[in-house]
Amino acid sequence: MSRSRRWSLLALFATVAIVGSACTPGATTSSPSSPGASQASQPPASQEPFDGTAYPESGEAPCGQAEAPTGFGKYTGNFKKITAQDARTVVFELCNPDVAFLSKIAFTSFAINDTGWLESKIDPNKTENQDIVTQVNGTGPYKIKTWDRGSQIVLEANPNYWGDAPKAQTLVIRWGTEPAQRLTELVAGTVDGIDNVAPEDFATVEGNADLQLKPRQGLNVMYFGMNNHPTVPGFDNSKNPFANEKVRQAIAMGIDRQRITDQFNPPGSEVATHFTPCSIPNGCAGDPWYEFDAAAAKQLLAEAGYPNGFTTTISYRNVTRGYVSNPVGVVQDLQQQLKNNLNITATLDEQESTTFIDNSDAGRLTGLYLLGWGADYPDVTNFLDFHFGTGATAQFGDKFDDITSALTEGAGGSDDASRKPAYERANNAIKQHVPMIPIVHAGSGVAYRADVQDAHASPLGNEAFSVMTPGDRNQFVWMQGAEPGGLYCADESDGESLRVCEQMTEALYSYEIGGTAAVPALAEKCEPNTELTVWTCTLREATFHDGSKLDANDVVLSYAVQWDAKHELHKGRDGSFSYFPGLFGGFLNPPAPEPEG
């Protein structure tokens, strides 16, 4: 920990320790590293005056920092300060307006934890594998009972839940990688609901009277990427066909995207008219994508100087994602179509998953490649800015100024209507430059036994099991693709973990059941100032599973441990906290970037 930060941390600890001890007597004795703790172990008083904390304790985060302080990286985040004004009120101050703020704070990673729990279940002296990873103390409808590693997680109803009591007394989470295997379990009646039905099994499920299918709308996009200027050493970009905009346009026209959508994606998938799905506000602003026209495409390719086509590669990884359930089938079809429609000869290049991502991010893929994106939060910035904005990777090569400027303008807008013109320009520019070809917003499906009432599918993948009634049984069994990595979801990034967390913990907002709109959860409301830079949230009365009461300081600390990379409690399963910087721009006190290498 740097000396410059220590004083404020100590001060913070002294205060949060008092609050923490008031909630869970004795908890403080187990964290000897907080020096202020020992004086605070008096019994909780019933009407103790609230001692609100703030983070940073004094001053504020250095917004738009121009120069990195010694030993640190530059602060690129959008949080300026978080303050507990009183026991029920938290104020978030931002550096720049953020119209998607509510969507972001609704994300599962920003669930609120109890101060005493954070302090007692995270050991500052241990780098990873903290107790909090397996011990959950949320405010949600279910609480954890057992986690039989490798087999199942058993949750039981939280009798003190502030909302509607869960319908099933017990919720069991199981997992299995193969879609057909999950369906076998569902047909056998050993589970009540399964995630991601194989596209080929939609008919099987629909033809079985004992089952029901809930299509899941695709908040994702699968695309074929092309790099107009790869960073491969010695690569001669003048011979790169993809450096020519006409070539990219020709391919965009020359691929029958409907055929790929029909063959490799379940019903409910949509051919992509834009990179962003239409269900996201402003996602479909601007003109729709090129119509399939092989003849025109061929002519355009000839104009570009390739009348006889050329040879290239199609890189991909054989990994199933929400946006692609059969990558091999898709690339084989693309290969055929390129040959048939444009006389482009492509060889397939399967790469190991992480190597493939590294290569694409670094701009080392010289041919076409198959990739996609699933929404973290339902805002157009999560799609466009991540791929085409100023901060995007080199995956498509050189950036296009008209796209980046339109995106910057769109992100600064204060409401959907005022952002629209910018996104129309951005999408039209994307259509013109064709950095990639959007193919499909892939739907998927969730299946339940027919007697499950109020079964639903969530476009964001966080189904709420507490509202489902599993026939006459009092146990609901859910089978998903994989075991959660951990249940401290601030430090998790995969959907399988997030969904399980979602049953037990709550953030200030949440997404409406079966939808994407942000609705109040632990906050009764959060209201912005007119510039959208200050958000004031009013908390509801809620109790954690261990009996502690929710208050504003819990919110401050829950965010602070994620936000400040030098925070003593900035630790979890592995300490990466990848969603925080992803959604809010960056950590406070980020580690200094490594010198080249």
Binding site: G73, T127, E128, N129, V133, T146, D148, R149, G150, S151, Q152, V154, T170, V172, R174, W175, G176, T177, Q181, T184, E185, V187, A188, G189, T190, V191, E352, S353, T354, T355, I357, D358, Q475, V477, G485, G486, S493, D494, R573, D574, S576, S578, P581, G582, P590, P591, P593, E594
Partner: protein, 358 residues
């Protein structure tokens, strides 16, 4: 005998060192990025550099190997890169299942294999014999994964409304759990290696539920083990049946059996008392050698039946570039495998004193 065992153990040491080196090298040359495999595709370079420093992955390979050897000598298998948990914990969770599955399958294979072999030998060239041998030959030729996939869907879905219905995957019915032995016996305060051993035994569900008398859970666990055991045990079963048959036929043709028959002993007695015992020698060898096939089969079976055993752990560790887990688990398996081979050799010598222990 003891000298033989000691010598065999000593000669295993260089092999074991070779195993450790081989595994270390193999694990490190696997292409891929452990950081992004562990932290997800969206991890930034800064996060990854930090991550690599934390796990010592930025050190030169010989240094890494040295550190690993020192730790290993102290019995420390390290911590998983992906899950941040000690490999020993992972082993204690996952290995018992594989042991249980393997033993269950081996028992199944031996029991039915020997019986089928005897029946075949006694009714030589009868339709029973021919039928059994056809099935045995088909058994050794069928891929484990095809058998497993078909068994799962046939017995759980197609025969759903019959008494033959079986659970398609998993270890226990959802919601059922075993009580750890430490809890059941009031030894929660116990720590150290003894506790580890107890937890290890706890995770052998059949053993655990048997000694604590949780009969419904025991029966549930057995039902979940049947299909995977059949899938993984069919090849050994077929081999054992064929070996029993040919070995018994050979023995039954020998002089002393003829003498026994001539003495007027009842045929069944001849076979059981004189024939079988001597015919078992090659069968024991085959049983021992089957363990390798069983473990190989377990890799496939565990994934098909969704069992969190050691075979699947290794495959997942390889795809997840979790070097530490790959190393630790493989080394433990190799040690176990060497030990089993030693036991087979010793029991072979024990059964047949004519074999020189050299």
């Amino acid at each position: 005998m003891i000298r033989f065992v000691v010598r065999r153990l000593l000669s295993s040491i260089p092999v074991l060192l070779g195993v450790v080196l081989l595994v270390f090298i193999l694990a490190r040359v696997i292409p891929g990025d452990p950081c992004r495999a562990a932290l997800g595709e969206r991890a930034t370079d800064a996060v990854c550099n930090d991550f690599e420093a934390r796990y010592g992955l930025d050190q030169p390979l010989p240094v890494q190997f040295g550190i690993y050897m020192v730790k290993l000598a102290g019995g420390d298998l390290g911590s998983s890169i992906r899950f941040g948990r000690p490999v020993a914990d992972i082993l204690a969770e996952r290995l018992p299942l594989t042991i249980e599955l393997t033993l269950f399958a081996l028992t199944f294979a031996t029991f039915f294999g020997v019986i089928l072999g005897i029946v075949s030998a006694l009714r030589r060239n009868s339709p029973t014999d021919v039928g059994t041998m056809i099935v045995a030959n088909l058994g050794v030729s069928t891929p484990v994964f095809v058998l497993g996939l078909l068994l799962a869907i046939v017995f759980s879905n197609w025969l759903q409304d019959t008494p033959l219905r079986m659970p398609p995957s998993g270890r226990l019915t959802a919601g059922l759990s075993v009580v750890p032995l430490a809890t059941a016996w009031g030894l929660k305060e116990l720590h150290g290696p003894l506790r580890g051993l107890l937890d290890f035994a706890s995770n052998m569900y059949l053993f655990n539920t048997l000694v604590t008398g949780q009969w419904n859970v025991f029966w549930d666990a057995v039902r979940h083990l049947i299909l995977p055991a059949v899938a993984v045990g069919t090849i050994p079963l077929a081999i054992i049946a064929r070996m029993t048959r040919s070995s018994l036929l050979e023995v039954l043709g020998l002089d002393y059996i003829r003498t026994a028959r001539a003495k007027g002993l009842r045929e069944r007695l001849v076979v059981v008392r004189h024939g079988l015992r001597n015919a078992m020698l090659p069968v024991v060898t085959v049983i021992g050698l089957s363990l390798g096939a069983l473990l190989s089969g377990a890799v496939l079976t565990e994934s098909i039946f969704n069992l969190a055993g050691i075979g699947r752990t290794i495959v997942e560790a390889i795809t997840g570039r979790d070097y530490i887990v790959i190393q630790g688990v493989t080394i433990v398996i190799a040690i176990g495998y060497l030990l089993v081979n030693l036991i087979v050799d010793v029991s072979y010598a024990f059964l047949d004193p004519r074999i020189r222990l050299s």
